[in-house]
Structure formats: C-alpha cells, structure tokens
Symmetry: C2
Subunit: 706 residues, 2 copies
C-alpha cells in the first residue's frame, strides 16, 4: 500500500486546464504538495498548468507507480487496463457513476473489481475523495485548494466512505482546532482497497496516533475485526445505519448492507475499538485517545473534577453516572494541599470548586496547585479540568498545567469555555501542548470515558489465557451432527451440549407413562414433562410442555394428555424442574457477514421486551467471554438478584466459549439456542435447547423434502 | 418584580473607586447601560467614577427603588434594614459568605429571609451575579465589563443559580453566536426571590421567547410546577444533581436538597417543560423553541432531511430512532420537484442527498428547490437542513431559505459545518434570520425532537377534559381513613380502592376453612389464599400467601398451614387467582418537597432491576394521566405483550387519577401501593394493595406505641 501514500510518481488521468473542474483541482493539489513528479494525462491537451500533458498513461516517463483517475465512469476500465500495462502498482478512481447509481454502474464497478484481481493492480475508490496526507503535505483529491490554508497536522487519521466527510468536515475540524490530522483516506465504493487495507497501513504508520473510521457497512467481515484486533493503536468507529431507517438510507447511499447493530457492536468491543455516534464526537475521542493510548495498568477511572463553576462540577458528576467512571474520594494529602489555596470557610470536596481560590490566589497558583494536588493523589486516576479562556482573572497559563499533567502519567481532559477569539487561541495552544480540550461538558466526560474504556478493553484482551482442551464429542453425537438434518429434538441437542461440557438440567427419556413415573422418582419431584414429536419445534404452542408437576398423579395426567397430543407418535422427556431463577438465553449463530458468533441475552417473559442481547465473534478467548458477560446490560441479574445466588461468571464464560467452539468446529451446525439458560445455585444450566443443522445438503434433501 | 428589571433609580451599596473590585465593576456596568439614575453608596468616599457618593442609602435622593449590595456578608442585614427604612422595593445582594459557607453564613441568610418577610422588601440573592438585560442594555452585576463588547440580543432568557453560568458561559454563548439573549437572572442562594418569582415575571416579559432554567433543587415545590404549567412560553430545564454523586455535590454547592430525579422529571413533563442535560444543549433547545413555540396542531414529527452528505443523512436517521421523530415518506409531488434538480441516475429518497444536485444546479437553486419541495409535502412536518458555509460551490444564500422556511409554518433546524470564520458569519446570519443553526448533528436532532416534544406536551395539556365526579367514599371507608393507624390490611385497603372505583380482584373474607371453601366455590378455582394477621405487612415473607390453589384439597391444606402460621389470630382472604399478565405497580406518595404524587411502574419480578417508574403531581387531569402512561418506558407491555390483550389506557388513566384524588383528598393517607396491578382482559385490576395512614396523631400514638 506504500505506493498510495508515498508514490515515486503520479499520473493524473483526466487532467484539464479548466480551473473549476475536479480534474484541474486534483492536479493543482498534487503539484502544490508533491514530493514526486506529477504527470497530467489527457489526449486533448499538450500542456496543463505549465506541465507537459501526455496523451495516455503509456507515454508517461518514469518514475511512476500511481495514477489518479477522474474521468466519466464508463472510460475507467480501459484506463485501468492501460495503467496495469504501464506497470503501475495502483490507481485512485475519484469519479462517481458506479454502484451508487444503479445497475449499469454496478456492472462497471464489478469490472474494476475483476481487473484488480486479474491484473494485480490495486484500485482505490471509485466514487471517493482520495487521500489527504497533512504531515507530508500531499493531497491527491479534488478537495477545494482552500484546504491548503488551514492544514493542521496532528496524530488523528481518518478512514471514511463518504466524500463530504473527507472535505468539508476536515476543514471544519482543522479550522476550529478540534484536532490536528494525519491522513484522511476517503475510500468510496471500495471496489478493491477497503478499510481493512487502510487500517493495516495506518496501524504501522508512525504519524498516526489514533484512527477514526466512518463505516456504513462491514463487508470485510471477520478480516476487518481481525485487523482491528491486531491494531496497536486506539481506533474509534462511527458505524452509521444502526437504526432501521438509517440502514435503509445507508443501503441507498453506498449500496452496502448495514449488518446487525448488536453483532457489529460486539465485534468492535471484542476488538478493543471505541464506538462514536457522531462525526465531531469521533474526532474528539480520537484526539483524546491519541493523547492517552495506554494508561498505567493500576488506573481504573476514579476522576477528579477541577472547576471554576460549582454548577459545571455537579453536571460533570451527573454525566459520569453509568459510564464506569466515578468521582474520586480525595486523600488527606490532596485535601491539605487544596486547603492551602482554599478560603477557610470552604470545605474541600470533589468536584473541586476552585472559584474562590482563583479569586484569592490568582488563576495560575490556584489551578496549578489544585491540578498537582489532585493528580498526585493515589486515589485519583484522571482529571477533568474546566478552563476559561480570555479572562485575566480566571485564565491560567496552559504550559505549566500541561507539564503537570504530562508528569503525572494520568489522563487530563479539559473543558473549555470563553470568548470566541481567545477561546480559539487557547484551544490551539492546548492542542500544541498535547492537552486535549473539548467544547462540550458532555463531550469531555465522553472522552474521559473512552480513555478508560479503551484501557479496560486493552487490559482485558492482554490478560493471560489458560490453555483450553480442544472440543471433543463422543461418536454418537458426532454422527448426529454429521448426518442429522434441520432441528434436532431437545434431548438430542442437550446430549450434544452435555457432552461438550455445558451443564443441562437432569432428564430422562421415557416411552410411556410407567417409564415416565420411574424417571420422575429417580429425578425427584417436581418435574417438567415435554413431548418430543418429530418435526415439532414450538413445543409450548403445541401443548407439549407441562411444568411443575408435583407428584405421580399430576404426572400421569400430563402423560396421558400429552400422548394424546402426539398423534404421530413421539417420546416423552421427564426433566427435573429447575425452580425460578434468573433466566438468560445464550446461543450461537452463523452470520452471513460476520460468520460464527456467540450471543448472551435476557431470557424468559421479558426477552422480547427489553434490549439485552450482546454478541461476540467465535472463537471466544477467556477474556472475550468475560468481556461479553460484562457487556450484558442487566448486570444485577448476574450479581444475585432477589435472593438468587450470584451467577458463576467463570462457568458462564465457559458455556459461551463452548458455544463458540461448537459453531466454529462443526460447519453443519447452523444455530444453537439455549432458551432458557437458568442458574440454579449460580450454575448456568440449560433448561431447554435447540440445535439446527444445515438441511441444504443432498442427503438431507432426500430425507426431508421441505 | 418590575423594580428589579426597570428600576426608577438604583443605589449601589459597596461602591468603590478601585477598578479591579466588584463594587466598582457593578457601578461601571450600571452606569454604562443605565436608563435611570445610579447612586454610589459608601461612607469612605465622596465621589466615585465622577458621581457623588452617598454615606448611606438614607441620603440617596429620589427616585430610587432598588439597591445592589456588594459588601461583606455580616454587614448585609443592617444595610437591608436601611434600604427598607428608605422605602426601597428591593435589593440585589451579590456578595457571597452566606449559606454556602457554613453555619454562620446560614444564620446570616436566615436573618435576610426574616427581613424580607417582616419588612416587605424583596431580596434577590445573596451569592449571585445579579441581572443582565441585553435588549435594555442594563447590567446589574459584577460580570466583566468586556461583556459590553459582545452583547447579542435575542429571545432566550436564563434563570440560573450559579455565578459562572451567568458570566463566562453567557460570553461564550453570545460570542459564538449560539443564541441571542434577553435576560439572565442569577439568583444565587434564593433567600427570598426564587425561580418561581423570576419565571412568573419572564412569562409575561414581551422580550422573552423561551426560558432556560438551571436548577440544583426545586425548593419552590408545587408552586414552581404550578407557575411552570401556567407559563405560556417554552421552558427548558437543566436539573443538576440527578445522579447520587451529583446530588451530593449540589448539596455542598448551594446547600439545597436535589430531590428525587423521577419526581422532578415527572413534574417537569406534566408542566410541559423540556429537560436538557448540558448547558450548551439548554441554550440550543431554548433557541429552537423560541423560534417554534407553537406548531400547527396537525404536525406530528415526520421529518425530511436535506443534506449535502449521504453520511450525515444516515447518521441523522440513526439519531432520530426512539425520539418520537421519524423519517417522512415523500409524496409524488415532492419527488417530482426533487427529480427536477437531481441527476437522472439518482433515485429520490429521504434523507435527500443533494450533493449531486448542488454540483449540477448550484447551491441556491438546488437547496431552495429541495427545501420548498420537501416543506410543501403534506407528509412532512419539519426539515433538518444541513448547510456548509464558506464554499461558493456548496453554500446557498440564507435569506431565501429562511423565507421558504417561514412561509411553510413548519420547523426547520439546520446543522452547520464550515471553515471557522465563514461558519461564524453564516451562523450569525442564520440567527438574525430566525433560522436556528446548531453545530452538532446530534444536537440538531435533539432540537427538532424538543420542538415536537414541546408541541405534543402542549397539545395534550390543552385537550378538552370531561367533567369528573368528585371522589366520594361510603361511611365505613371514610371512618377507617379517619380513625385507622399505620398500614391497613389488604382487604381494608382494597375495599377503599373498590369504593373509589378502582377494579380489584374478586375476593371474600373467611374466618375458617369452611368459609374459605365456600368462598372459593363462589369465586371459582383457582384461587389465592392470604392470611391477614394484625401487624404483618410483608405477607409473602411471613408465609401468608399461597397462589394458584386449584381445588378444595389444596385450599384445605393451605388454610390449615396458614392458620398455623397466624398464632396471634387473623382472617383468611380468598381471592380469585388472576392468571399471568403484564404486571405493573401503581401508587401514590406524599413527597416532602413536591407533595402528593402518583406513580406508575413495572411490577413483578423485574421491578427492582429495571428503571421504569414515572411520576406526576396530583391531581391528575385526564391528559396528565395520558401523559404519565405515555412516559412509562415499556410501552410494549401496554400494547398487548406476548398475546395479552392490550391494556385499556382509559381505565389505567382513571386508576391513576383516582389514586391522585385519594392522596390529595385524604391528608391522613401517607401512601398507597398497588403491587401488583395486573391487567386480565386488558382491565387494570389490583391483585394486592396497601394503604398506609398517618400514625403520628395523638389517637394513633395511644393505640400504637411504635
């Protein structure tokens, strides 16, 4: 990919002397910053912008390894062939008119994809804004040349599908000094080069400290998540099209399926990425994470708030609720040092309301003392620092504060207010000094949260993993998976799960009433009775489930009625009744985009009402399982709700890992569903389960004409 | 209150010639803008800033009706007395050193409160920044005089407890052209004048279009909500101290209890106020609501998104999820008009991605055509308009757009990006043209949501109300309430509820097994059996509840065991078993701050796990009850979850209204708890209930020594 970022020579195909056209703007941008030769190509001109214009790429002299193409879509395949013939390594096609415009464009784009494969030439685009590399001063894009006046170099690189985001938004970001920028890669329709390729490149780019990714879909699927996981730098992802209507809009925008929100979120968390919901938030989070990519392992989110406004302190505390951050309790040393600048009447507390101290001591002494005192406190892991700019009596010098922050090794995020012009200059200084400063109080808390969330995900992923036995199933179960079709019955499914090591409720198969009574006596009352009838998946609806049978008489009655309901025959399943506990569902699915995934969710009556499903990509390491469990939104249910014993998280983790191993190890398993998964005595135990096998195979079709 | 806002003459007590001190800054601010005489008062000087300085307020000539006091706290009571003697109507005490500093300050503040009452002089403050009136050019505050350079007049008035918020934040807001401002009232410790007084004034202030209130507590309680409800203008409230830690910080900040989050939120919604979570959000919401205080009743939140970036359109759609807003489906006429500017290959959809049209037609023609087409569509209720400033090829003229928006009578909120300087000027123009423009995409959706939420609350509150019969109880129940003590037993409680018109499960009292069997036969099996033992409140824990008894034998067994558990004697309650349905809780409480309130929540197993309680202040009108039900977070449970019939919302509303009438009508009722409130056949029906009466009365104490 290096030839895209550091080409030895660039041909610009579609160059034009008309200064209002993209083909001219790209040329001027390329010339202005280029550290390599630039060759305009257009058969209609002999000279453009004072340079020799070549009739075709084959005439272009050496060195040249990259072409930027900006011509009507139908001409592009031929031109790409010419580039391949000329021996170029890659092309960036910035013109539109491809998959985003309908069937004919789609066909053209597929032709490009084929060319990339067959001719070993990398194609970036089409329908994109190309590349802006701020530190190198290289712009291969038709972005307005006014961008040269506002370039602000920094550690944040962006990968975006959308054009606007790589132009207007970039100018907005840099002129408002929201962040300095390294590379902006606008990848458009992704005929060949996609976010995976770019992310791989940026992961080893020394000028990139954090990556922001705007994505409408994840066609790279598992490869994307693998690269993301391997990326050593903080990555912030804005996944658009999460809502149903947003997904439909995304589909018409770049013709790409948005993918299930929960699955993508699960994959992102598992890979240690942070999600953003808004463009500006994405930049702010990137900026902060670039400043604090790694924290001391001991730090865990106890925050000091230093403010000149009691109100802002309180609202900050409100924003911290349910973020994993908490207000730190200040220790005696910090208190003493704060008391040295506080007026006597004022008790020291966190949030540290510094206004009276600033009035007495001036802003420099007050804020420096407070920042050092709070950061030195071993009970404080980071500081939210509220700054006001442009008021001599209130505004501290930034440089000493940045020094104190740096020396502490703890993250400091500042919230900045002030009169427009001084606030802008102050923010620029903060940026230069490496002190992240954001304009919204809510955003400052979101940034601090992201720093600690990233830290937590990173620490968890790096935890040592115990060796795991490979999954082995006995021959009968292997055979069932190999030769079965469609949905296995409950007992068969649970036998497979049991053999794989997942605890299931004790149960016996009975073929008649007497066997059922015998089984119940062995298991102990109360029992549940189920009818396993061939082809019946929804047992409850078919009247084939009777719970809480307290004795022989009730069981007999249930057996009779159930045998009556199974006109086609079937078996009886007698199961030890698990008394009321927290109910979960767990499962494994094979997603068309993301492949084998594992799910944990809320079970029972409420399962459909409440959002509660979390996903991870199989296989799950121990820390993946821990993370998945920690992402389950109803943690109190795991902690021993309403007198239940706490759910054993290690055992739950092992259940989830095993589900992943099953779906990954046996391609014929289409899905596994543990519903409900109860937790008597804290032990996750399957009360009902189904396993659905592929029935598309020839030998299934023979047995099952459906 | 008019003398605070339009004084005929102002004495400034604590004036000083030292230009760095507050007592001088207040004077200069007052002089610069004053439309009335200003009299410095300080016995140590004869002249300040070229004015005669008076030794005391008694020497100040007429006309004078207001004093601003800025002296050390201990001197203030005497000075207030002098002001009262001189016949002043009010004082603004801006000095600190009162309740916020501890016991001695608290005592001083109480003295001020007493003076206000006894001497009929209104006291604003202490510990506040006073008043900034931008349209009048009047500043009675020690805010930095640099504020005069940035005054930006507009329709938004603010009421704040905090000092910073009325100074730094104000300058930030105006210089960034986030909104023009009318009045800013910093009310500090609220010894006398409070948010109620100010809100009452602003409600009839012609220069105020919307009010933003920052509050850490609601000491005004029911008066506050009554005034809020009567206020004809949009009000946005930022209630700080909602989290536990935030509430603790608020307590130390202005020594005021934060109040239950759910109760305050309920009261705010009932009064039609919109909640904000952040200072800047509060301003943005106020700005938008001032632009669109009332909508055509037919409008209901179907939104068109007009954007120059497909990505921004998709993310907007994502943000709209769960806001009550939805993407509008465009009708044929709008589509046709959009097609006239779209390139042929591009299908028309909402979000309307206008970039290709802007490229072809130029920004003015494209955006004007699109805005008019979408706003004219009868299926569109409002438009989110994405604008980019400072790029000739992309930036449309604002004035025609503002005209189109205005003529449509539908709300248009724009999201603005662009290079810093042109973006600022563009934003200023938008502000002048009455077109709300915000900088965050998330914020633009939040603003649109607030406009429609306010519209909905307003429309609901204005719905015609049927006459309601006054609540009448029969004599025995009246007597029970009059003479009972502590918790009534379940049967007594349900008799009261039944008589008040709240449906309860059919039940019979039995004093022995035979009567119980007879009752069960009358009610029909299955039944529940409960033991009503004197003094036992938690029946389940005491083994006094047996559910789902299917026949005589089970009932007999239950009677025997229960009679055994009631060593002290008691009655048996046989109740028709209500089969599994959605479970709610409902109740009424008497809050120390807010008085009688009604609650609706989630019942059953999950009640403690899930946030689900919503409140309203009693009494409840029909529309209050409808609103309360609509605020219940698990609406699907009301709509007929898992095969249950939908809950009859009218009947549910009547239950809630009756609960309000009971707690309001009978001061001896301390709380009512319907738990669970089930809905067999969709009819809200009490399965268990308790009513707790006051037991602090003398006649209770005699009976019940606890």
């Amino acid at each position: 990919m290096d030839f895209f970022f550091r080409p030895r020579g660039v041909a610009l195909i579609g160059a034009t002397p008309n200064r209002s056209r993209g083909g001219n703007i790209i040329l001027r941008n390329a010339l202005r910053g280029s550290l390599c030769p630039v060759y305009p190509v257009n058969p209609r001109y002999t000279e453009i912008e004072g340079l020799t214009c070549y009739p075709s790429v084959s005439e272009v002299p050496d060195p040249v390894d990259l072409a930027v193409i900006f011509v009507p879509a139908p001409s592009t395949p031929d031109l790409v062939r010419q580039c391949a013939d000329r021996g170029l390594s890659g092309v960036i096609i910035e013109s539109g008119g491809f998959a985003e415009t309908g069937a004919e464009g789609q066909r053209l784009q597929e032709e490009l994809e084929r060319l990339a494969r067959e001719r070993s030439i990398r194609i970036w685009g089409p329908n994109c804004m190309g590349l802006v590399d701020v530190p190198a001063g290289r712009i291969l894009s038709f972005v307005s040349p006014s961008i040269w006046d506002v370039l602000l170099s920094g550690p944040v690189s962006l990968v975006v599908q959308s054009g606007m985001l790589s132009a207007g938004f970039l100018i907005d970001t840099m002129t408002h000094a929201r962040s300095g920028i390294s590379k902006v890669c606008s990848i458009g329709n992704r005929a060949d080069v996609d976010e995976c390729d770019i992310l791989e490149y940026l992961a080893s780019d020394p000028e990139t400290g954090a990556v922001g990714l705007y994505l409408e879909s994840v066609p790279g699927g598992r490869r994307f998540f693998r690269i993301l996981r391997g990326c050593d730098k903080p990555v912030v992802v804005l996944k658009a099209g999460k809502s149903e209507r947003g997904a439909r809009a995304a589909l018409s925008h770049t013709a790409s399926l948005a993918g299930s929100r929960e699955l993508v979120s699960g994959g992102l968390a598992q890979a240690g990425a942070i999600e953003a919901s808004d463009f500006q938030e994405m930049i702010d989070l990137c900026r902060c994470l670039a400043a604090y990519p790694r924290l001391d392992p001991a730090l865990r989110g106890r925050i000091g708030v230093i403010t000149y406004s009691g109100a802002a302190g309180i609202v900050s505390a409100d924003f911290m609720e349910n973020t994993g951050l908490g207000l730190a309790d200040l220790g005696p040393q910090a208190r003493e040092r704060l008391e040295s600048v506080f007026p006597e009447w004022m008790p020291v507390a966190n949030p540290v309301d510094l206004y009276p101290a600033i009035e007495r001591q001036g802003p420099d002494r007050a804020v420096q003392t407070a920042l050092a005192a709070v950061l030195d406190d071993p009970g404080v892991d980071g500081v939210l620092l509220h700054l006001y700019s442009g008021h001599p009596a209130l505004t501290p010098e930034l440089e000493p504060l940045a020094g104190i922050a740096r020396r502490s090794g703890k993250p400091v995020v500042s919230w900045l207010l002030g009169s427009r012009e001084p606030a802008h200059l102050y923010r620029r200084s903060a940026l230069d000094l490496g002190l992240p400063a954001v304009c919204g109080l809510d955003r400052s808390v979101a940034c601090m949260r992201a720093v600690f969330e990233h830290h937590r995900l990173w620490a968890q992923a790096g935890a040592p993993e115990p060796e795991r036995e490979p999954l082995r199933l006995p021959q009968p179960q292997l055979g069932l998976i190999e030769r079965g079709c469609g949905a296995l019955d409950e007992h068969e499914a649970k036998r497979i799960l049991s053999c794989a090591g997942i605890p299931c409720a004790a149960e016996r198969i009975a073929s008649n009433e007497e066997e059922a009574l015998q089984a119940a006596r062995e298991l102990g009352y109360p029992v549940a009775l189920k009818g396993l009838a061939p082809g019946v998946v929804h047992k409850t609806e078919a009247g084939l489930v009777r719970l809480d049978l307290g004795g022989d008489r009730a069981l007999r009655e249930a057996c009779r009625s159930m045998t009556g309901s199974m006109a086609e025959g079937g078996r009886l399943l007698v199961q030890r009744q698990i008394s009321d506990t927290a109910a979960f569902i767990a499962g494994a699915v094979r997603d068309p985009q993301l492949g084998p995934c594992v799910m944990l969710g809320l079970g029972g009556y409420w399962a459909e009402l409440l959002p509660g499903r979390v996903f991870a990509l199989a296989p799950l390491s121990g820390s993946d399982a821990t993370l998945l469990i920690s992402r389950f939104p109803h943690q109190r249910l795991l902690d021993g709700y309403r007198g239940s014993p706490p759910v054993d998280r290690d055992l739950m983790g092992r259940v989830l890992q095993t589900l992943g191993d099953l779906i990954l190890g046996f391609p014929r398993i289409r899905e596994i569903d543990l519903n409900p998964l109860l937790a008597p005595g804290g032990v996750p135990t399957v009360a009902d389960a189904s396993i659905v096998l592929d029935n598309g195979d020839a030998h299934c079709a023979a047995e099952d004409p459906s």
